[in-house]
Assembly symmetry: D2
Homo-oligomer: 346 residues x 4
């Protein structure tokens, strides 16, 4: 039984980790870390866990946690994990960091986009970017995982095969993304009030969202050269879900069948990536509550562009689910352990 | 492995049965019955099941189904199950009817409130009202289960202990209920369009909703005499969830602790009924996606009334989950098998 | 042209006052008072007013405001208006207080339910409860209006004629109310985040909500004796709208036509109260954005109870619209001036 | 007083025409045309109009209507207006067609994208594309207006100045649009049920939506050469509102101030187009219920692209409001007559 500690268990991503790990046969949460709710019963904060979780919230002391657990999930804003991790901890436990601290290899890029100094750049090199579909073997051997961002996961998986195969010009990639509101976290902000979010859609972080360099780094590796993209996230009046609509120019004439064959080649063995049938557009509702990413594409012969689409639950495959997927690989379990629940509809 | 057939697998309740049974270790759906989608792939209608369900929808032929399955769930409007069931079928399989056909013992009451003739009144007597918390032992021996209605389940469990113990005057019971829109089914009706339901709340079926006699019959048994209640359902702009707010006059002065002790006595061994802590009001979101019913109460000393509240997912404990709970009991399984998933939040 | 000052112009009720007064031919806002946004452009906070309002937010200094305006609206939480008002101000301007400070005649009741000391009880007696349909003549002569609460407005208008006419037993009145989230204000609280409110319904303030004594006082006047009611508000995942479902025992056998005649007698000359046709249930969406209250009823012969229903936009008739209606009366204008916009649907 | 007839008064766009025209001082609806609700009271179908509209729905007989009205609005699906209009009618009344029938000058393009034969191509040439900001003078003299589509209105106004000024390469334009559900109409379809739309976002009509050639034709005129764009609409779980996020490559280095000056030059005299302040992103909620289009842009120096954004209420500026704006021009009224209501928030 894997003993688990969670730093930030009372945020939305942390709460989703709790939900998923409660249903995981091989893991047991022994430390519910929180900054705001120390000494309170976890189930008093998340009433869905009433009679399911009896634990009290502890603080976010990673040193103490490392004595009692096998793996630590850090589900906190950027900066915290990097400020807490050290050699002593890394010798004792595996760390799966859901923040951005170890996702970007170039520390200068990180510091520029996030506007903070990186507190432990010495671990960036060893950290494995935990997109299992891409780095499965490295994940298995890692002790520090940079769990991918929600937008990057969905964006990358939607366009990766065509970048890798050179079917599209990576410099023409435009990613228009739409997210539910849980991605904004549980902080008490006017902008996230029901009456501000409901009956509304808006773009935000235009030409400056922090997930941009993360997507670019991964696509750059696939392309074999630096890639610059346009990335625009939008806030949608729903709780969960990310939809990516990506555009790129085709480098040559291709048929539906050819492109489909490429996607199938990359994903047919991937349990969590579903390449939909022809003309079926991904919808966030068909993946809600699950670890699936649904992808598909449409060739626009008129403009010689291709539209690539992906849908995903931002709290599952975009955060907690992918983190558990990483944990499974790191501990030699079946990758799908505890993650095979069907999407919930309606 | 229990072989399952579903009549009406493409409605919302049927789809929820599919979701729950996919996660059930001891059951396997072998017949996806449908009227509207015969010969289509089930996963083409419910894309959440893409790559999870490969089956084709079959018709609703209960005779043929009975040859191949151990249990049939009928998730269809009233009248259908009663028109299909016969001795031959009942000799071969167990039936769990999610419609109202066998819930009301007095056929005249059924026919009056539902406005149709009952096609097989000869089975009403043997049918067991499948509220497991109430009729557990009878359910185990039953071959025909009348799965309770969504409103009745939540209403009954919220007020039952106090009626049974005689703490409230049953003739003063008023039940004001609120439901998400999935309870209205997947039929294409203007009234259920997004633009008609969203940003709106309304009462419907005032003083005439068909679930009224079902609640009255069960409460009447508990009270030991006929009971008439006021029951008003409302449509809420959400997908899942039922909230019941019930009012009744107390028959004597009681303290919080006394009433709490009553609820605890009835429900402390019931896995799926959670009596919340003092002053915590049930909320539909804390039970969403799960088989739990959260109940609580508040004594109003000023008016000598008590307000009893219950929250439940109408598609799970109010339909498919309770049906699976019944199936578990009928087949000698652990009652919670396949139903222990934690509520999903947010 | 009436010069208007608003204390609390940046809350939701204040913003609705701005919207309504912009469309009012005889009024002009000259002071946008705010505590949080002093010196900022009003339209930078409420972007809907971009290019429509050029003013800067000023502070909430009621003394200074009284020098420049003819009427002051206080759209702030309880306690503020009572702490600011004085003889000097009242000699210069009329005040329409949207808070609870002057609604309840018995200061002890106010102080008990609101948990604060009343700072200027000397004005309670002269203050007129600004329910125009009830106190039209007094409103015309008032200099201090206690603008009714949202729940009380809808609750009272739904049941008033039957209480006044003695058709129902006032001691049996139970009011189950449902409100959109704008009623909770624009404060940054976790409980009002989109992800907490959406897909959820809950009761709150059970047996203790502060609008209870306000409703009771007004119904008591109508009944000619003290009245105690049960009042339970619920939070609904929508922005605007209040729906009231009220229950009471009939004191004698009455027909639909008799009750309808009573409602018509009280409301047929009231522009803003619409008695719906038989069997049409009020819905919040049919009054959204307007100053209408839709009411109707259903007699339940089985239980000898009557179910009375009312729907209203909490920000309009429940707050800003009713305040403008009061202003119109106080300044000798047509009562419907600036308030005749049709409800918005969808 | 302009006498108005509406063909299709019981659809969402028709109902919005009714709402707007009720508040219009110079117009009076004398014919509520409908196909589905002939002989029913209009206010029985749209209860928001109870006691505001006493009329009965008449049929959609345009010949008869032309005898009694000065202007006919056709708020019906494509094909109907073209099949009804004739010389006799056009001699008697002005027509504002909210469908696509007369928007596209090349009848072959219309017939290809809409998949139907055009029934009266002889009127296409004289029809004026009723985007007032573009064709104000022609609108004033027109007798047949092709009221622009919702997506085209918002898309065109967002990118037009930069295309016209040659700042962007029109062949690189990608328009990613998001719409509320009222755009899908009031037809009873499973896809538009609350439980299907809520908590979901999806693209639809990818690379094939019928508004594409309409946008291309108008942009082509601005560019002085044929333009091909990528256009992808998405369905958002909200009632009203369209948000356009458009991408294009800049043809030369430009500063924020230069681009802002261009937008201002085109729109500073346009009451209904609001160019927002720097870094303020358009949001649908800030225009809800109003005839405004909010536009803004962001230069992305890294990719040498510009992101252009526009937000609009699809039922107002995207349909009924723009139609009234056209009517105002055609009848010599002030263009803003009846359209100056402030956006509703929240």
């Amino acid at each position: 039984m894997i003993r688990v500690g969670i730093v930030g268990a009372t945020g939305y991503a942390g709460a989703e980790l709790v939900r998923l790990l409660l249903g995981h046969k091989e893991a047991k949460i022994v430390w519910y870390g929180s900054r705001s709710y120390v000494d309170q019963k976890y189930a008093d904060i998340y009433q869905n866990m009433f009679q399911l979780v009896e634990d009290i919230c502890l603080d976010d002391n990673m040193e103490a946690m490392a004595e009692q657990v096998d793996v630590i999930f850090t589900a906190t804003p950027q900066g915290l994990c990097a400020s807490l991790v050290n050699d002593n901890i890394l010798h004792k436990v595996k760390i799966i960091d859901l923040s951005a601290d170890f996702r970007i290899k170039d520390v200068a890029v990180y510091e520029k986009w996030y506007g903070i100094r990186h507190k432990s750049p010495q671990y960036i090199e060893e950290a494995v970017y935990g997109l299992c579909e891409l780095n499965r073997e490295q994940v298995k051997r890692a002790r520090l995982i940079a769990n991918p961002g929600c937008y990057p996961t969905c964006s990358f998986l939607s366009v990766y095969p065509l970048v890798k195969e050179g079917l599209i010009d990576p410099d023409t990639i435009i990613i228009d993304a739409k997210s539910g509101t849980s991605g904004a976290g549980r902080g008490a902000k006017v902008d996230n009030l029901f009456c501000e979010v409901n009956e509304n859609i808006k773009a935000y972080g235009v030409a400056g969202h922090r997930h941009t360099p993360e997507i670019e780094e991964q696509l750059g590796r696939a392309a074999g050269k630096p890639v610059l993209i346009s990335f625009t996230p939008h806030l949608v009046p729903m709780q969960r879900g990310i939809l990516v609509t990506a555009y790129a120019s085709l480098k040559k004439d291709v048929s539906y069948e050819e492109v489909k064959a490429v996607y199938d080649r990359y994903y047919e063995k991937e349990y969590f990536v579903r390449v939909l049938k022809k003309d079926v557009c991904p919808q966030t509702r068909w993946v809600e509550g699950s670890n699936f990413v649904d992808v598909n594409f449409k060739i626009d012969q008129r403009t010689r562009r291709i539209i690539m689409m992906g849908a995903m639950d931002n709290l599952v495959k975009g955060a907690a689910g992918q983190a558990v997927q990483n944990m499974n690989l790191m501990f030699g379990l079946n990758e799908t352990q505890g993650l095979q629940m069907a999407p919930v509809f309606p």
